[in-house]
């Protein structure tokens, strides 16, 4: 039971991380109608920036602030240089163009930081375990990730639902051209949204860096899972992304933790040890395929589309 609770927390933590990525991706998709495969590259950059800035400044907190600023700037630059020209093209062009960007970013990271990964060590006050309920200790840092992501979720909710910029974002999602025609600087708005998405991806990357090492290709693996999240949640819906992130995080973690044991009940040990890992890696894709077959537009299709 204790193990189960711990795995649930792990799943929640991964789900929260996925949410940071999915929120940006789904905003970019919903408003600019852009499939951005390079979103994972910004996550990777976040991890590398964090490790670098932490080494320069010697302060974890300074590294966090600098990383968010840096990924925001990189995101806006990428939007101005490349992405802006891809709006209004078909999805195939997006896939191809941003696939090119992935190659570029991976190679640029290899050029700048070298092929070996980079470590980011935690400050002492985060590197402890907290007793959450009697008998269960949980790493403080993972709890901090959950807290930060929840704060971001609340911030995004307030930003989108309660501010003027949020109003423009929602209007842009339902009719981009009309918003432009009404005199809103839609180009600037797009750049801003892309920057926010990039900063969120960077934040996810920097928070993941102390747990895993920062390494080349880390963005691609999580990118595909993030796409699963936004597809399940319904493209363009932040609420859907939030629910689907938690769902995917829990499914994946709990599947990996318990499926092999469950299979042992029905299959032979040899069969279970082969099928277990395969099935648990496949689980989220399986779930996504089933959901798409039943509801071809995801669980929470964004309204007004």
């Amino acid at each position: 039971m204790l193990y189960f609770i711990e795995q649930c927390l792990n799943g929640l933590q991964i789900g929260m991380l996925l949410f940071l990525l999915a929120a940006g991706l789904t905003l970019i998709f919903g408003i600019m109608n852009l499939v951005n495969l390079a979103h994972g590259s910004l996550y990777m950059l976040g991890a590398y920036f964090a490790a670098t800035f932490a080494a320069w400044t010697g302060s974890f907190f300074a590294a966090v602030v600098l990383t968010i600023a840096a990924t925001l700037i990189v995101g806006m630059a990428v939007e101005i240089i490349a992405m802006r020209r891809l709006y209004g093209r078909d999805h195939l062009d997006h896939v191809l163009g941003t696939f090119g960007l992935i190659l570029f970013f991976n190679e640029a990271v290899r050029l700048i930081w070298g092929a070996a990964g980079m470590n980011l060590s935690l400050p002492m006050w985060l590197n402890t375990a907290v007793q959450i309920i009697p008998g269960i200790y949980y790493p403080a840092y993972r709890l901090a990730i959950i807290a930060v992501a929840l704060a971001v979720a609340v911030f995004l909710y307030l930003l989108v639902m309660r501010t003027r910029i949020g109003m423009l974002i929602r209007a842009g999602a339902s009719d981009r051209e009309m918003v432009g025609a009404l005199g809103v600087n839609i180009k600037l708005l797009s750049t801003l949204i892309f920057g926010i998405g990039a900063a969120l991806a960077g934040l996810a990357g920097l928070m993941q860096a102390p747990i895993l090492t920062a390494q080349i290709g880390m963005g691609e693996n999580i990118l595909i899972v993030t796409f699963v999240v936004i597809i399940i949640g319904g493209i363009g819906s932040i609420r859907g992304a939030f629910i689907a992130s938690i769902f995917v995080g829990l499914t994946d973690t709990i599947g990996r933790a318990f499926l092999p044991d469950l299979l042992r009940l029905v299959l032979s040990p040899a069969g279970a040890s082969t099928a277990g890992p395969a099935l648990s890696s496949m689980l989220i894709y399986l779930v996504m395929a089933v959901i798409l077959i039943v509801r071809p537009e995801g669980l929470f299709p964004a309204s007004g589309k």
């Binding site: 999805h91 191809l96 090119g100 190659l103 597809i231 890992p277 894709y285 996504m288």
Partner: protein, 311 residues
Amino acid sequence: MMRDPRTAVVVALLIFLALLPVYIAMGGNNFVLILFTRILILALAATSLNLILGYGGMVSFGHAVYLGIGGYVVGILAKEGVNAGIVQWPLALLVSALFSLVIGALSLRTRGVYFIMITLAFSQMLYYVAVSLDRYGADDGLTIYRRSQFGLLNLSNKILFYYVCLALLLGVIFLVARIVNSRFGMVIRGATSNERRMRAIGFPVFRYRLVCFVIAGTLCGLAGVLLANHTDFISPAMMHWTRSGDLIVMVVLGGMGSAFGPLIGAVVLLVLEEALSGITEYWQIILGPLLLLIVLFARGGIVGMLRPRHA
């Protein structure tokens, strides 16, 4: 006829491909032959993708999975002691067809970006299946000790194998061209430009698309069979999603919806890779932006650029 630069390029390319082994036999670098055998095989895969992507408008982001399926059938049979090509090859095609039937039947219910992502999801699933096959090498892959046996036809002979690949590639290009220009192909292309109208006329678009998807998957399975025989090795990397991305790049680079486009795209991409990696270790830093530029400014690919202005 030869006034059209496209025809001239294709003819020149075919002559070059046909004569390449002669140059090798005269003492040329063996490496070039191996590179071009690989190019022919991936061109075959790209040609099969072109059928659904270029003509059918179905952006499959998991096409490399059939490369893997074809390869794994050959590898698994070889490991279990079945080396006869007459068993291996038809079985590989059959399994590829079955998988593409199931994947297609489920994926084709979705549209647009959902289709891109569901095909990707299926390829990821099979990728993880391959990773978990402990008996067949799991992550590390499996070496194939004997290539498919065809009696007197010895596929281990590099020049012969090259010509087998070339012949199959040309056969597939011809087949795809025939399919596209048949009544069936007209329906597929019609559905791409206006699905609602095709349906209103009374065509069961879903079934036509599914058949098209299965044909493409099966042909790509053939490429997988060749690839396994070429490298004497199978591994999950054969169906990694970046490989699917490479195939899309080949098709778009060469020119979507043109018979020889995927071949041209494969030749240009892989030769470029080879050339750039000779200049710098960091060649992808050049290739990446190049892709972006092609998307932005050369939408019709290389074949599109060669098109005469007035046409």
